[in-house]
């Protein structure tokens, strides 16, 4: 649709451009938007603790023990989610790398997911929280189901 509009504008003498990946790309990257939509990216907890996936357990033990989310998200140097470390890893020797202990390939969703539908899927699957990443895999935060349900209830 937008290529046709761009060509029409061009024919009217405007300096026309077409953002071909469109709104889906914009929202999946977690960028700001205006409108009525309630999307996953709007109710994130952005204080979910993180660590490097090559860190050693001893470096992140205290953070993991204190995490109110019960986990620490393991990232690479680019901020890409590699896995998540949960408290069952605490029994390992302190020089064990996060890489060896983390749960790989955690489920993630895009910030552009409609909140109501996502929460329904989480309820059905019995999931209390899910990681939200941009379309390039970078961590944005964690969506907590109870917080999301409050937001939907409030209409915020």
């Amino acid at each position: 649709m937008s290529p046709r509009a761009a060509w029409r504008l061009d024919s009217l003498g405007f300096d026309a451009y077409d953002y071909v990946a469109g709104k889906a790309d914009w929202l999946a990257f977690g960028l700001a938007y205006e409108g009525d939509a309630q999307l996953a990216g709007s109710v994130l907890a952005t204080d979910v603790p993180t660590c490097g996936f090559r860190d050693q357990l001893g470096d992140v033990r205290a953070v993991l023990e204190e995490s109110r989310f019960g986990q620490v998200v393991a990232l690479n140097g680019e901020g890409i989610v590699m896995g998540r470390l949960t408290r069952d890893a605490l029994a390992a020797p302190k020089d064990t790398t996060v890489d060896a202990l983390m749960r790989e390939g955690p489920a993630t969703v895009r910030p552009s997911e409609e909140l109501g539908r996502l929460l329904q899927r989480m309820r059905c699957a019995g999931i209390d929280g899910i990681l939200v990443t941009r379309s390039d895999g970078r961590l944005l935060g964690l969506l907590e189901r109870d917080r999301g349900e409050r937001a939907v209830g409030d209409g915020t």
């Binding site: 649709m1 937008s2 290529p3 009217l12 953002y19 990257f29 409108g35």
Partner: protein
């Protein structure tokens, strides 16, 4: 001819050349969510007079829809 651009180029054009961003989807989809500051210029019912009234010929215009449609 129009240029076909990505997200980074859109952001650059808005920041450096004060480009206008326009969504060409129907009203309901625009109301649901649109890029910050985007104007609504639906392709269905394309109105040349409205286009000329809304847009400034001296500024670049970036149109978009949902995705590769």
């Amino acid at each position: 001819m129009p240029a076909f651009i990505d997200r980074e180029e859109l952001q650059r054009l808005v920041e450096e050349r004060d480009a206008v961003v326009a969504e060409v989807l129907p009203r309901a989809e625009y109301d649901w969510a649109h890029l910050p500051g985007a104007v609504h210029l639906p392709l269905r019912g394309w109105d040349v007079e409205r286009v000329r009234a809304v847009l400034d010929r001296d500024r670049p215009v970036i149109v978009y829809c949902d995705d590769y449609q």
